[in-house]
Each structure stands twice: as C-alpha cells, then as structure tokens.
C-alpha cells in the first residue's frame, strides 16, 4: 500500500489578503489575525485531497495533528494515521520541519504539503532531496517551483504519481524572498536549494516545464561544449546551479550546488569559496567565470551568489564571462532579459549588454542582459 504524507501550514497565506505580504514570524501572524486574516490553507488542501478520492482505501494517508493536516483529511473522509503533536498555540517553522522529518522516517512515497515559499524552505531544510514532495500553493509568496499551478492540479498530479502514471522526477527550485525587504518594496528572491517533485508537464507552474530527461541531456551537451574549449591558461570560476553542476560532473570534480567552485587545468582548486578566497586564488591569474541564471527569474548575479562580487567580476572582465543555460530555461523567461544586481551601479552598467549564451554543443544564442 502506498503511503501519502500530508503537512498543512495552517497560517500560510494569511498575510496576503490583509496586505502583509507573508506570515514569516510570530509578530506578523498576530498582526494578520488582528487585521481579520482568515486561514486559506485548509480549504486549499481539501481542494487538492478531493482529487485523490479515487485512491481512498487504497493508500495510507499519514498526517500531522489537528490543523496541520488531520482536520483537512477528516473533512474529506480520509481516515488518516495522525502522528505528532503541536506544542504551542500557533504552529511555527519548527513544527513543519519536525513533521517533515517524521514523514521521512515513516517512509511515505510522496509528501504533499500546503504552504508558501517559507513552508517550502522548511521542508527543504528538513528533508533535502531524500524524498519526493509536492506543494499545494496556499501561501502569499509562491516563487518556488515545487508548487503545482493550483490546488486541484496538485491533487491530480499526486494521484498520477501514486498510480505510477507520472514516473519522472524533477529537481525544482526552492526560492524565497526576504519578507522584511518585500514589505519595504524591494523584491529579492533567492535560491535556497532543490526539492524532488513528480513531473508531468501540464500540472506544474508554466515556467518550470522542461522535462527532467531533456534538461539532463541539454546540460550534458553544454558541459561537452564548455570542457572541450577549456584552456589551461585560465582559472575557471564555476557558479551555482544544476547546469554548471553538469560541467563539474563531466570533469569528475566535486561540485557545490549552491556555492562557488574554482578549477584550473581541469583540476579542483577549491569548493564553496567565498569572495575573499576567490580573490586570493585568482590574483594575477587569467580567469573565466562560468555562470548560469538561477531560480526562474533569470538572475545571473546578485541572487544567492553574492560571492561573485563586483570586484571578482572586474577581475575576470566582461569578455571572460561565459553564460550557460538550457534552451528550456531561456524559453521560460518568455523573452525577458537576463538580470544582474551586483550591488554596484558601475558593474551593473558594464554588464548591460548583449551576451553570447551557450545553450548546447556547438550551439549558442545572443541574449540581452540588463540591470
């Protein structure tokens, strides 16, 4: 019997309708409740669970106490196995994390969770890539690609996965913006990591529909092109992301998925370097920088790779920046330019130009970069 895990973040989405742009943190939650915010996530979870009714009696639903899943499951007439307990009056991030870990331990085939970007981050911090999950969008902020485009589609996709009709798995980005910044009008989404989700084109958010297999081969083709043209004269800084990871894999080198690595003569100089380490290593050396846009919005610099500071970019020089991206990733930008936000106006200005972007083996495109 297949096991489905269910976690509901009961407070997700409460800030939205009262204009608070999110509910990360207890003060904001209290404010939201005072402003008359109503919980959204129960209804949205029920909407998704309805799609799973054909499997009632054929799957085991494991969920958390009370409003963290039990309530929604019961109202759909599922008879869930309820685990865990909530300690405080309201739920917090640590409840979500603990619940996710317990789901992992109980060996669920799929973990369905309702929430927003903050919830996705909590799930990611708890289970990483050790299980398959899927988000029911219920939060105010949905920048992460781990969510289906609406609750009904989340339910449909979960059904397909549990029936083994959707077999492919996609590494989807967990993104979040700083809510404090967002309230002040600055929108900065950052890549936090990748969760494994079931893949079926029609159910996922529009921008994330590259099939896992075709993406993998595109990344390998890019890695071929890059490694074939590597020169021993240069140091190569390798930025974060799954596309650059394929290059490291091709060279049989350890990769830091979310960090910066440095190689020379196809050998590793260092993993996960910060700005200071980088500048020290490349001082006086000819250097190229291999970078890929991360996290769906097309940011090259300034989102989760601040180690690549204006000083590093200046040392490398504009002509030695090698941008790589799969065609699917470029196409998902729907014509929007690639973006830079280095924190230094002059550097941003310098990068404001058309760049050659390597998209495959002996294939490139010309694409606009703007700040």
């Amino acid at each position: 019997m297949k096991k489905l895990g269910l976690i509901v973040n009961p407070i997700a989405g409460m800030g939205g309708r009262v204009g608070l742009k999110g509910t990360d943190g207890i003060d904001i939650l209290e404010k939201a409740i005072k402003l008359g915010a109503k919980p959204q996530s129960q209804n949205r979870t029920i909407e998704a669970l309805k799609e799973l009714e054909p499997l009632k009696g054929e799957i085991k639903l494991i969920t958390y106490h009370d409003k963290m899943g039990e309530e929604a499951a019961n109202s759909c007439c599922f008879s869930p196995d309820v685990i865990g307990a909530i300690t405080g009056q309201t739920t917090t991030a640590s409840d979500t994390k603990r619940a996710a870990k317990e789901m992992l331990d109980s060996g669920v085939d799929l973990l369905l969770f309702a929430g927003g970007d903050g919830t996705a981050r909590d799930i990611y911090n708890a289970v990483g890539d050790s299980m398959t999950v899927l988000g029911i969008p219920a939060g105010v902020k949905i920048h992460s690609a781990v969510y289906a485009c609406n609750p009904k589609r989340a339910g449909e996709l979960a059904l397909l996965f549990l029936e083994e009709k959707a077999k492919n798995i996609l590494e989807a980005e967990v993104m979040d913006i700083d809510e404090e910044d967002y309230r002040k009008g600055r929108l900065r989404a950052k890549l936090y990591g990748y969760l494994k989700i079931p893949f079926e084109r029609r159910y996922l958010q529009r921008v994330k529909a590259g099939s896992p297999v075709s993406e993998q081969y595109s990344q390998e083709a890019i890695a071929h092109e890059i490694t074939e043209n590597m020169s021993d004269e240069y140091y190569y800084i390798v930025g974060p992301g799954t596309t650059t990871r394929a290059i490291m894999k091709k060279l049989n080198l350890e990769d830091t998925l979310l960090g910066i690595d440095l190689i020379h003569k196809k050998k590793l100089v260092g993993n996960d370097l910060n700005e200071e380490d980088l500048l020290k290593e490349i001082k006086g050396e000819k250097t190229k920088l291999i970078i890929t846009p991360i996290g769906g919005q097309g940011y090259l610099f300034g989102r989760g790779n601040q180690q690549l500071s204006p000083e590093v970019i200046k040392h490398v020089g504009k002509d030695n920046i090698i941008i790589v991206a799969t065609k699917h990733k470029i196409n998902s930008l729907l014509g929007r330019p690639l973006l830079v936000d280095t924190g230094d106006g002059a550097t941003d200005q310098l990068l404001n130009d058309y760049f050659r972007v390597i998209t495959g083996y002996r294939e490139a495109i010309i694409y606009k970069v703007t700040s």
Binding site: C149, K152, R153, E156, N168, R201, R202, Y203, R206, S211, V213, S214, Y217, K327, I330, N331, L334, G335, D353, Y354, F355, R356, T359, R362, E363, A364, I365, I366, Y367, K368
Partner: protein, 420 residues
C-alpha cells in the same frame, strides 16, 4: 493546407510525364527539360535570383544545399575553416539551424524582442570574422514580417557572410516582396508549400533553390540550360557542390508547380498572396475573441500568412493544453497542425489558411475550436480524453526526450549503442 488542383494530377499521371526515364537521351526529353527550364525562369522572376536548381528533395534538403554552397564559397576564398558559424533566429524554421548543424556549422540563434521580431542589435553582437552566413525566414513562423530584413542582410554582408532566405512558405508575399531586393544571395521555395504541389508528408518534394549571378558556379549539377534551339543538361559549373539528390529532382512536383503558375499568371499569383493574407487576418480577428486564446506579439497589427497563437490562458483556467485541443479537433475531422517548435510561445498553436479556403470553410473550422473551448470550460475531461473517433489514439512522445531511446537510422543506432 493549400488546394492542389486536380487537373495537375491528371497531367502528372499522363504517360508523357510518368514514363519519362532519367537515363533517356535528352533529345527525347525536350518537353520535360523545357518545363524545368521555364519554371526556373518563373522563379527567377518571383525572387529576383539568377538561376534555380530543382534538385533538392524538399525544404530541409534545400537548406542543407544552401549551407553547402555557403561552405564552398568560403572554401574557395580560403576562409572555410575560420568561418564556422551560421546565424539564425528563434522564429525561423528550425531546419535552418538543424541543416546548418548537419553541415558542421556552429549555430548562433537570435531571440525575439518584445514585439516578437529578431533583434538587430543582437545580430550586430553575433557577427564576427567567424560568421559564415545567415539563414533566416521572413515572415517568421509568427507571421510577422521583419521590416529590418535588409539591415540584417547588410550587417551579415559587412562581416563577410552570405545570406540565405528560407522562403519555403512564400504564400503571403508572392509578387509583393523579393529576396533580391532585400539583398539575399540565396533563397528557396518549397513547391509543395507555395506552388500547390501536394505535401506528400515527407514524400517526394522539391525545394527549388536559387542564387545570385555570383553563386551560380556553386549550384548542384546538372542545371538545365537552353541553347537557342534545344534544352540540355550542363555539368559545367566550376565550384559545384556536386549532386544533392539523384538525377534532376522530382519531376511531377516541378510539373504541377509549372502548371499552377501558368494557370494563374503574374496577377493571379499576387491575388493568391493577397487572399492568403486576408484569410489569415480574418482568422486572427476571430480567434482573438475565443475565450482562452491569444495572439502574442505585434499587438494591433496585421500578420502575413500565418499566426502562432497561444492557449496559455485556456491551460491556466482549465488545464487543457494545445495537445488536447489538437486531438479533439480530429474528432470533428479537422487537422490542427502540431509542429510549433521551438515552444517559445506558451501552449502554441499555429494556423495558416492559405488562399484556398472559403469563408464558410474557415467559419466551420473556427466553430470547431469554439466548441472545444466550450467543452474545456464545462467538461474538461471530455477534451482531455479525446480523440474518440479515430483509430490511432494517443502517442507517447516522451521517449523522444531521451536520446538513448531513439536513433534516426539503423547505423546511428549501432553507433549510439556501440554495437559493431
């Protein structure tokens, strides 16, 4: 799809055509050679090029021949090794990139700007001493005509490259614009797309390829020449790329195109183009009013011969995709074309009526789309589970994503799987 006059089939089946043998003495095949020669002169007039070959077996074959001529041209100037890049655009036909890659070129693709047009500033960044040439469609697959096309050609010429015009589909521009006036060095027409020879679904076809005076010497051999009293085959081209197909081309396709042009005349060709554009823009206006459908780019402007539309809103609101609509259309006996690559426009669908359909027929087709959209909002499963009335139902395309699971030839299969 274009109407192929039935009388042309009668002509093509006549023993005078069907029994012509490629190895018979040219003195006994003067009529066939005359038709090939005259079609060449018609296409010269339509494009402004100076000589055509009928040898390529279709559009992609003609593009490959263009890439071969571009290569031979640079080779004769000692630059073939240095000039290893071909530039194209994202909304040009994908074969422009594919055939160039087959020839061994690196492919540089320009993306669209906000208006859906390729960006001339990006082109300036793309050209260099490594540029071999430009292969471009215009109007592109969006149906938008690139008004800066002459500037594109100039930029590539200045960098030392040649420019090839993919005019496989010239339905909207016959008698209106010519490759020559935009400065192109090469162009080709698909006789089955523009000149009413039947499509044949990958069957025998012709990509008639024309070049400027300077490039005639590179054409495939033989070419058909006229000596004043007799037609003959000439193999006397100094830099010829050799043969690109057995013998002289697909003669029945050549004959049908010749017949179609002769029956319409210059005025008729121009009228065919005008009606094709009119039909297309009628459909555009109607589709813009269908719930869930949209026509990205070129807001408020007319299109040429086709439009790439989007079902993005339909998908967001109902979960119904382009693929679902395509299958459901089959239930009503309609064909919704299924090749919209690359998928830049979300949930794309492309419609090109050509000049052949009456208003009643177009309205019937639109009613099919409207009916399906109604179903999508009322009962999406009805659409999702289509088709109901066809023998072959759904095909799983996912294996095409995985190169391990396909090979285009037996030899490629053996190579891929390292079998001797």
């Amino acid at each position: 799809m274009k109407y192929s006059p039935k009388i042309n089939e009668v002509l093509a089946r006549s023993p005078k055509v069907a029994e012509v043998h490629p190895l018979q003495d040219v003195d006994t095949a003067q009529g066939a050679l005359e038709i090939m020669y005259k079609l060449d002169t018609f296409l010269q007039e339509i494009s402004g090029m100076k000589k055509f070959t009928m040898q390529p077996g279709g559009g992609s074959s003609a593009i490959l021949a263009m890439a071969s001529i571009i290569y031979a041209y640079h080779e004769s100037r000692g630059e073939a090794d240095k000039r290893d890049e071909i530039i194209t655009t994202i909304f040009s036909h994908p074969s422009d990139a594919a055939a160039a890659a087959v020839k061994g070129y690196k492919v540089i693709t320009l993306y669209q700007d906000e208006d859906g047009l390729p960006d001339v500033e990006a082109l300036k960044k793309a050209v260099s001493e490594r540029t071999a040439g430009l292969l471009i469609t215009n109007p592109e697959d969006t149906g938008i005509f690139n008004p800066k096309i002459a500037e594109f050609v100039d930029v590539v010429h200045e960098a030392g490259g040649l420019c090839g015009y993919d005019q496989a589909n010239a339905n909207g521009i016959l008698g209106i614009t010519r490759a020559n006036e935009a400065g192109f060095d090469l162009c080709f027409f698909n006789l089955h797309k523009t000149f009413s020879s039947p499509h044949g679904c990958g069957g025998p076809a012709t990509g008639a390829l024309g070049v400027t005076e300077e490039l005639i010497t590179y054409l495939p051999v033989p070419i058909v020449e006229f000596g004043g009293d007799r037609y003959y085959l000439s193999y006397n081209l100094l830099n010829t790329i050799g043969k690109v197909r057995a013998f002289y081309g697909v003669f029945p396709a050549v004959l049908r195109a010749y017949s179609w042009i002769m029956s319409l005349g210059a005025e008729g060709l121009k009228e065919a183009a005008s009606v094709a554009v009119l039909n297309n823009n009628y459909i555009l206006e109607k589709i813009k009013k269908i719930r869930g459908a949209s026509a990205p780019y070129a807001k408020g402007r007319h299109r040429i011969e086709q439009v790439r539309y989007s079902w993005e809103t339909l998908k967001e609101e109902t979960g119904i995709t382009t693929e679902d609509v395509t299958y459901r259309m089959a239930d009503f006996g309609f064909h919704l074309w299924s090749s919209h690559h690359p998928f830049i426009v979300p949930e794309p669908f492309t419609i090109e009526p050509t000049e052949s359909y009456s208003k009643d027929e177009i309205d019937e087709y639109l009613a099919g789309l409207e009916k399906i959209v109604g179903e999508a909002y009322e009962d999406p499963d009805r659409v999702k589970n289509a088709p109901y009335n066809s023998v072959v139902h759904k095909i799983d395309h996912s294996t095409l994503d995985d190169p391990e699971k396909w090979a285009i030839t037996w030899r490629a299969y053996l190579k891929k799987h390292k079998k001797k």
